[in-house]
Amino acid sequence: MESRFFHYFVFQSAFSMSAKTQPLETLQDIKQMMERSSRFISLSGLSGVAAGCCALVGAWFAYDIIYGSDRSYSTGHNRYKGDYGTDLTTGNEISLSEFMGNRLFQIAVLTFLAALILAFLFTYLRSKKTNTPLWGNQAKRLMFNVAIPMIVGGIYLWKMVQEGIFGLIAPGCLIFYGLALVNAGKYTLKEVRYLGFGQIILGLINLWNIGYGIHFWALGFGVLHIVYGILMWWKYERS
């Protein structure tokens, strides 16, 4: 008799609990599960900060080469220049192998790799913390949708290099990267969209300020990433 009463009591209280206090929590659970299952949420704000710092360091080195007072760039560059008498800053014809050997190009590649590795590291750590798989369906979807504008943009800019239109490369990078981020906003933290809009706007302004590419790069890939990263860290990861 006593146990029956006890059962009844437990059943009653559990039932009325779930009915009265839980609808809001239940809705929050549902929202969280929908987000968790469809978006890649492990993207860490610190990844953005790290990538931004890499970009600023890279830009600092590149700035030194382009504007350095000792003009070491022009003498250094002669080694690759051969008899063609071309120069990246004046933007005449240049062969692809020359471009590959160019110090600026090497800095850009190194910067990109360093940023990618650090960004990956912080996101990896975050995925450990939130206990979500790093390489699940969500990550694949994100990568695929980021890759489309990036690869198309890469091919387009590659062609521009071949044509010797160097002035449009910096704005082109910003614009295509921005488009990739706007696309990414559907598959990861939605705030990535705003970072994307920022990059696109900078790229478009840069189109009418050719020659200041390195400044716009530093602003877009450096400052914007850092600002975005700090905001995201503040919003989602600060504990």
Binding site: A19, K20, M33
Partner: protein, 99 residues
């Protein structure tokens, strides 16, 4: 209040079943293993919660193979989608009534 509670779907009063259905609402289809990772439950536990969802016709099952391994994927059926939506509105009603 009592009427409002009756509008809630009994099948969804379990956290895991509700989670499965939420995940299926946000995705076209999800494999068994992915569901397991999302819910962080064991094989047996997940299977036992998928069963009532299947039996009530809320969830469609597609059995396939990746190599030699079985790959079972789940998706929300039209009946499941409408049941989930009315469950959501019932929850909404309850929140509204307590204000």
């Amino acid at each position: 209040m009592k009427n409002l509670i009756e509008n809630l779907n009994k099948i969804f009063d379990n956290r895991i079943r509700l989670g499965i259905m939420s995940a299926l609402m946000a995705n076209q289809d999800i494999s068994f293993n992915e569901l397991k990772e999302l819910m962080q439950v064991t094989d047996g536990n997940l299977a036992s919660h998928l069963k009532p969802l299947e039996e009530s016709g809320y969830v469609n099952v597609q059995k396939g193979f990746i190599g030699k391994k079985t790959n079972t994927t789940y998706s929300a059926s039209p009946a499941g989608i409408s049941a989930f939506k009315s469950h959501l509105s019932a929850l909404e009603e309850m929140i509204r009534s307590t204000k």
